[in-house]
């Protein structure tokens, strides 16, 4: 069969939740966004929900501790000066500030309530 497809799209997949989506750039300086600098190396795509072609969307990055590839969803990772996957956050929870600990505890509770 004639496959006239363009170079296969690169796909980002979160290793925790499985979310996957094509990405167009990996790094700290997304193209066409002059003034933007990311504070970590990220998987970036054009923001599909904005009519403006220059708007970007960060899909995820790698955990600074275990190098797991994770999405930026709050169930999978957390950024606090660096990216931490949820597994690593839970492992070192006591080193995170109280605000974050409280937030996470609250979230855990509400998700438990939703399940039961």
């Amino acid at each position: 069969m004639e496959q006239t497809s363009e170079p296969r799209q690169k796909t980002f997949t979160c290793q925790l939740c499985g979310l996957s989506s094509p990405f167009t750039y990996y790094g700290q300086k997304p193209p066409n966004t002059r003034a933007i600098v990311l504070l970590e190396e990220c998987f970036v795509t054009q923001d599909p929900f904005s009519p403006d072609k220059e708007k970007f969307l960060v899909l995820g990055s790698t955990c600074s501790m275990c190098s797991l590839c994770v999405c930026v969803g709050s169930d999978c990772s957390l950024f606090y000066t660096k990216r931490f996957c949820m597994q690593c956050v839970n492992k070192h929870l006591e080193q995170f500030p109280n605000q974050i600990q409280a937030e996470l505890a609250k979230k855990k509770q509400s998700s438990k309530a939703a399940v039961s």
């Binding site: 979310l19 950024f79 500030p97 605000q99």
Partner: protein, 1138 residues
Amino acid sequence: MDSDRRRDSRSWDWDSPQCRAQLDEVFFRRHDYIQAGSTEHREFWAFFDRFQRFKTRKEMSGPGAKEDRKKTGSGKVDLGLPKEYDARYRINVSVCTLDVEERLGKSERRGSQRSSGPGSQEISDCRLALLHFLDFSQRQSFGKLAKLRREQKNLPIFQYRDRIVELVRQSPVVVVAGDTGCGKSTQVPQYLLAAGFNHIACTQPRRIACISLAKRVSFESLNQYGSKVGYQIRFETTRTPVTKLLFLTEGLLLRQIQQDRSLAQYQVLIVDEVHERHLHCDFLLGVLRSLLAENPDLRLILMSATINIKLFSDYFSRAPVLQVPGRLFPIQVIYQPIPPDEQPSRSEKLDPRPYLRILQGIDQRYPPEERGDLLMFLSGVAEISTIQEACQVLATHTRRWIVLPLHSTLSLAQQDKVFDISPPGVRKCIISTNIAETSVTIDGVRFVVDSGKVKEMSFDPKAKMQRLQEFWISRASSEQRKGRAGRTGPGVCYRLYAESDYDAFAPYPVPEIHRVALDSLILQMKSMSLGDPLSFVFIDPPPAASIQTAVTYLKEQGALDSRSELTSIGSLLAQLPVDVVIGKMLVLGSLFNLVDPVLTVAAALSVQSPFLRSAQHNPDCTTARQPLHSNHGDPFTLLNTFNAWVEVKGERGGGSRKWCRRRGLEEQRLYEMVNLRRQFKELLRSHGLLEPQSSAPSSGDRGQRRLRLTERKKLHQMKRDHEQQESSRRKVLRLEEGEEEFSSGSDTEGAGRGKKDNEAGQNVDIQEVKFKLRHNVSELQEAASVSQDMSSRQQSLLKLLLCRGLYPQLALPDDHNSTRKDSEQVFHTRNKQGVVIHPTSVFASDPEVLQVPEGDNGEMGPERRDSSRHQLLAFVTLLETNKPYLSNCVRVPALQALLLVANSVDSNADCTRLVVDSWLELELRVPEEALKVLSTALALRGEWERLLLAQLGQSTMGAEQGVSHKVLEKLSEGLVRFLLYTEITYSLRRLTAFQTQNLYIGPRPQEPAPEGNPLFPGVEAKPDPIKGGLRVTSFFTYNCLADSKDLYSECLRTFWSCPNCDLYMPLTPLERMQHEASCRPAGEQQQSEEEPEGAKAAFSSSMSSLTRVYHCDVCDEDLTLTSTEILKHKRQHMYSTK
């Protein structure tokens, strides 16, 4: 310096636009990520206000708890996190704006010289807000993406994703079967895209589905602002060269196949909703089945509900089937057969009691806080309004229901209401036809009431009539209706029939191909060279009789010749996506100078009527409509309406909405007309039937052009804005919604007015915007004014064109109509007696114009009414509902129209008795007049045919010049004169069955040989093998009627002098017609020689060569003579021997 700062700071006002503008220069410059003036910029400042308020609140609640972090235990890794918490550490973005640039010394601006403006505190406040805003926008977009992926994953079809792709790779045809809600229509195309398939077409039975699917799938495939996913329907397309997935209608794909059998542009074809068994879909499957053999690389996917899957699989040599379970909540079925005393009898209205009981039962059993609407399925519009009326009484009383009708003849605004939300404690009661079974999906329905009935169109080939009849539904439809209750939660379905009835239902609905006229289908098959339609392998072949009827009809229409091959007009008609009759009008119109009105009429007759039925009983509407009416016929009324609307559009633009409302017009239909009209024009142009558009730039100088360009830009922006808002706009219904709608009987003026006008002010009239983008109003206005100023001559010519297009759809007024009431006027068609005019027709309110004027009645008594004013009706549709109704009628002068358009005209020896199509008999009193009118008609028709063929030949052969203007002018002049000034008295009546049996003398062995005696030169006049007499032209047989005399009987000879030449001799009628046909005034003869070569070449039957070889037995010589000369020559021998 320091003091300056402080003073500035004190005077800093965050709410002042000037202060904000100063910050804009720091953060939102032209090359920054967010620019001043953009949507994001507006959103930022809104966010800023919220952010500041949040910060103040936090500061007031005092400092947070002291950091009390445990020491890192020994042996544990230190993450190196900052000691002090700051929300800023949670943001992974930094922005390099003017302040940073200045700090880094990059900027050219001398920051230190800024004497006023924001101080460092303001800048850092704004900067912090910006970072949080960017983080917030990221979270928002990512949230959308995550939600989308979650929803996709939750669809039942998701787990079959890889399997589907694998099957498509392996086998040329795959059947995917899944019930409503399994996600097949949106997901399967995406799976293929993701798997690397590139040119995918997905057909839909409905245009609206093409648009909504393209929208949804482009959103889901994260390409909502690109054109990777597009749609193509009759009037619009969003397809671009980068489009990889295209949603299109079945009809459109068929047209594409017609143009390119290889379908090289597609890699995969998906045919969705095949179980609906629409005519086009069944045909498409048949065509694709034969195409697959020729294109082994093509992949075909059939998608269906879980109905009759084996049928589809077997049709494609047992294609693999993938069955996906649907996602329906449990639905309780309650059988509530209607008790005998509440059963409607045939003539009566529906008894509403069984329906009301259900509403009351719901009120009793379910607390109003538990949401859930009700959807009722009834068979037709009349039934809906009966039940609606009764339910509304209940609703007004209990204030717990909003009653809304839903059917396709409602205005779009009214249809749209069913999607709005009811206020708390109130349920919607939607009373619908089967439109809500598949075409329209309404969320939030918890209760379904199924009457078990449906009205369906069927075609009666014997009466040549469509029939709208009520039937029991099939089990498949019944299940489909039930399923509508379980889309958003568990539901209840009340069936107003017994379970034993259900068991007796047919398993599936009758496929459309078994119910409808197949004319267009057969025509298309012919043009696709698919061979004999009778041997084509349909998935479920239509009855042979139905195909035969269509072939006969197409022959009558002149689209097929006697060997069932396409004629040149037929092959053109096959290209036009319209009914054969409409197509014929277009082609005929292109010949004469009547293109503009014909385009409008053809478009108007192809869409639903813009006249809202509900407004008919509104006296204000009726009065306002009056000036639009034409007593020549409904197409003329439509023409007037369209022209007047265009006029209003040109003068007042958006004001047309109000203009329409006042007249009870559905403006949407007029928009459809104008679009269709444009499409017709392009079609004619692309087939060489219209001169190409003048390439001169639209009028006006550069300034004007620029103005128009800016306007277009603005319009485009408005369209985009509208499209963006559209999705998020569901209104809450008011309790009075149903009442109002009902009491006023229409959605025109009245109580709802203030609200409506408000609405109009708030949102743009998107149709008006699209209209302006698509059409050049002044050009349209010009066209409109051309057809508005039509003279009575042009009007009668237009009528003739319409009549020829519509032929053989003609109806004869009954003899006794003058003694009947207006509402009881009766008409007859050739195949169906006793039809009536639809109440919407102009002739229903004004039938006198169809009657032969009093006093015009000859001395022959009532059984034979002689007049020169007999009229016939040409009609577009004959549809039987409770009565057989004619709609969209035009009146035409009977004798003239018949002679000019009928397929079969038979005469007696002196042509005083004519029989048309073996059903109408015309008796002319004066033989002299009869001969004259007949020979004029023959000459005009011959010329008309010749020019039409030349025009068509020119379009196919691409000859340089077409038919010359002068010749055309002369023909139309002749036709008009014939139509308007033929003053000849005759009687007109239908033949009885007995008369039809003994109509013709039949062939006679002793018939004098034709001895080369053609009426037209070049056309052989042969004895007709069935009727007897002489077949003079394809449509005229002379002297074949049973009362006919001997063809060459000397007693028929009368002395006659030709007005054109010096001939004066005793001639039989035939000889005389023959002479008239060939003898032209001296001045004209040259003209035919001027005719371009192309026209001549295209004209197959060499009618233009006037001479032929004649062998004279007396002289024993071959002579090259015109037929008149032959006649003279023979006569010379005749007299010399005497």
